[in-house]
């Protein structure tokens, strides 16, 4: 809705997000003048900017999968619980003496399985996405508790810890992971027809099915990717604290991920999407967190500020407001007033 015509470049698509990110970073600089200062000590980069990139990794990873899900007019509420499950799987594997590679693969497979479960519920059984993923959101933490047997499962496996707290060439591993996965995913959806097919499902699933798109398989794949991203985020969070906490790992991160996608200007009503914009959205959230933290403002205000942020975006994204703006701009208001209606009707 926000975005201009399809021919405009990527840059103009993400301009609003870049401006918001710029403002958020500027606030950081005002609070802490040497915010951009990056140290290189003990073969690792240090600095507040690096922290923002590093701490934002889980939400950024979730946002990649969530963008695709939301582009199909769906939503995945279970990602937080999937993070807890996969973190628990990875931790229990290394505690049982398996290597970190096996543990990582097992965790990713678990996440994929969870995603596939959601996908089958949505695509085959035709359950609304909110409800379908709610099942795993409710039961998921219980399953994670079952795996960790109710404890916080701690581990000392160097390889696994490296994923969350280590560095590669001085850059913290989580940053590399989300950037690489983000780039791969962007290439996958934009260098092939995949992205377009996903968008067509989000805009009108029936007509895209009639046009010959195998929406069922595509939908399952989209939820599978979301589960996979959540699993990766879960492993990173577990590795970061050297333990799997079934109660608190990824708690409420599904909401942050959705927020990142919405800040990225992607419509919750499906259709056109931009993974890049969602990733910038994740960084915006983390920068705002950082401002609150650095300014010494009580962290209690964090949620209030987030809420106001969502409200502001809602007002901007609202079909009615954009229609009003359109009417104000148009010299000859001859647009059919039902402009925003077809999507609603499709939902009935």
């Amino acid at each position: 809705m926000l975005m201009p015509g399809p021919k405009s470049s990527v840059l103009s698509r993400i301009t609003p997000q870049l401006i918001i990110l710029g403002v958020a970073l500027l606030l950081n600089v005002i609070v802490l003048p040497d915010f951009f200062h990056i140290d290189f000590r003990n073969g690792r980069m240090f600095g507040n900017l690096i922290d923002v990139l590093n701490r934002g990794a889980p939400v950024a990873l979730l946002a990649i999968g969530m963008t695709l899900v939301i582009a199909t007019r769906g939503i995945d509420l279970s990602v937080g619980a999937v993070m807890a499950i996969s973190g628990a799987v990875a931790a229990s594997m290394v505690v049982d003496g398996h290597g970190w590679g096996t543990a990582l693969l097992a965790a990713l497979a678990t996440g994929g399985l969870c995603g596939m479960w959601n996908g089958v519920l949505v695509a085959v059984l035709r359950i609304q996405p909110i409800v379908a993923t709610l099942v795993l959101m409710v039961a998921g933490r219980g399953i994670a508790q079952l795996i960790t047997e109710g404890k916080i499962l701690t581990f000392m496996n160097e390889g696994l810890i490296h994923l969350g707290a280590g560095t590669i060439a001085g850059v913290p591993t989580p940053i590399l992971i989300w950037i690489v996965l983000g780039v791969l995913m962007m290439l996958a959806v934009r260098r092939t027809a995949l992205g377009m097919l996903i968008e067509s499902i989000g805009i009108n699933e029936r007509s895209s099915r009639l046009a010959g798109i195998n929406s069922r398989v595509l939908l399952i794949c989209v939820y599978l990717v979301s589960g996979f991203c959540a699993a990766l985020a879960g492993v990173i969070v577990a590795a970061d604290i050297k333990g799997a906490d079934a109660n608190n790992a990824g708690l409420w991160l599904e909401l942050d991920a959705i927020l990142a996608v919405v800040i990225g200007g992607n419509s919750l009503l499906g259709g056109r999407f931009s993974i890049l914009a969602s990733l910038i959205g994740a960084l915006i959230i983390q920068s705002v967190n950082s401002v609150i933290l650095l300014s010494g403002l009580p962290p209690e205000f964090n949620l209030v500020i987030k809420a106001l942020l969502i409200l502001a975006i809602l007002v901007i994204q609202s079909p009615r407001i954009s229609y009003l703006l359109y009417m104000l701009r148009a010299t000859e208001p001859r647009q059919d007033p039902g402009q925003s209606k077809p999507k609603e009707e499709a939902a009935q």
């Binding site: 939503i75 059984l125 035709r126 359950i127 609304q128 909110i130 409800v131 379908a132 709610l134 099942v135 795993l136 959101m137 409710v138 039961a139 998921g140 933490r141 219980g142 399953i143 508790q145 079952l146 109710g150 079934a246 909401l255 959705i258 927020l259 919405v262 919750l268 009503l269 009580p298 209690e300 205000f301 964090n302 949620l303 209030v304 500020i305 987030k306 809420a307 106001l308 969502i310 409200l311 809602l314 007002v315 994204q317 609202s318 079909p319 009615r320 407001i321 925003s340 609603e344 009707e345 009935q348």
Partner: protein
């Protein structure tokens, strides 16, 4: 003949009776008025909030903010009773006005901005939780003699069960909810809205006032639930009742209400609450099962009831197709 519209409610009832019978078979002491009374007392706040959620879901919406509103209410009451000397009843009235207005404002945003209820109430959830944090991050005890008076109100059944005031408030809320849903014009409007917005508009349902009313009810009942919760715990804590909205949604679904809206019964939610409470009680009685089994069993039940709803919808559609003789897909 049993009408198919009542089938989900009947299945919920049957599930409850079956579950209670199984519990009684495994632990005969569970069949006492004491357990029943505790079932009502322990689930009172959840039940009251679930009535509001039933209205929201019947209208085809969703309200994610209620857990936060309950926490906000508790903290607000605790702080206001500590800082000022106003009577708790005044504070109750004040907080109910605030939460009802809060819900109504969300309803207005949903209607006038044409945004999905999911994201608007998500913002409301952050806002209410944030407001609770800003008031106090610590657990604030409530020590007012009026609270002691209210907490000591109970009716003792002959066999020892204590039916407390808050359980009674829940039952009363359900009764009023049933009457409003099935016997008033507003209730009919809610069902019409859930059946389809376009159709409701064409039928002359006042969309704006109905939507705002639904979310105001949900907010107000979340406020009442917060009052009950503060009576239950004698404290206000901003981290309390995280995720209650999910429990409430689960109770509504297990109660047989269709999540797409337009279909369901407030009474079903009551049994949904009781089934969930029963699972918890069983796990407490068993002693060897860990508490996280509650979540898994509730998740499983949720899944079963969603499948049931789907099956019924399919069956109805198939019958309609054969009746009308047309092959038009839904």
């Amino acid at each position: 003949m049993i009408r198919s519209t009542h089938l989900p409610l009947i299945i919920t009832l049957a599930t409850f009776v079956l579950a209670f019978a199984l519990c009684g078979y495994a632990y005969p002491s569970m069949l006492s008025t004491r357990v029943v009374a505790n079932l009502l007392t322990d689930n009172a706040f959840l039940g009251i909030a679930a009535v509001g959620m039933t209205f929201v879901i019947l209208s085809g919406g969703i309200d994610l903010s209620i857990g936060s509103v309950i926490a906000f209410t508790g903290v607000f009451l605790a702080v206001i009773l500590r800082e000022t000397s106003i009577h708790p009843l005044m504070a109750f009235a004040l907080v109910l006005v605030i939460t009802t207005a809060f819900g109504g404002a969300m309803g207005a945003l949903i209607h006038y901005l044409e945004m999905p209820p999911f994201i608007v109430t998500l913002a409301g959830m952050f806002l209410a939780r944030g407001a609770a944090y800003v008031l106090s991050t610590e657990s604030v005890p409530i020590t007012h003699e009026f609270y002691d008076v209210l907490q000591d109100l109970y009716w003792k059944a002959p066999s020892g069960g204590r039916f407390r005031l808050i359980g009674g408030v829940m039952v009363l809320t359900f009764l009023v909810g049933i009457i409003v849903a099935h016997r008033t014009r507003f209730g009919q409007n809610v069902y019409a809205l859930g059946g389809g917005q376009q159709a409701a508009r064409l039928m002359g349902v006042p969309l704006a006032s109905t939507t705002i009313g639904i979310y105001a009810i949900s907010g107000g009942l979340a406020g009442l639930s917060g009052i009950v919760f503060s009576l239950y715990t004698s404290a206000g804590y901003s981290l309390a009742t995280v995720g209650v909205e999910l429990d409430a949604i689960a109770a509504v679904v297990i109660g047989g209400t269709l999540l797409t809206g337009g279909y369901g019964f407030v009474a079903g939610t009551f049994f949904g609450i009781l089934i969930m409470g029963l699972i918890q009680t069983y796990i407490v009685f068993d002693g060897t099962l860990s508490s996280w089994w509650t979540k898994i069993v509730i998740g499983g039940l949720l899944f079963a009831f969603i499948l049931l709803q789907k099956g019924l919808t399919w069956a109805t559609q198939a019958r309609q197709r054969t009746v009308t003789g047309s092959a038009a897909p839904s």
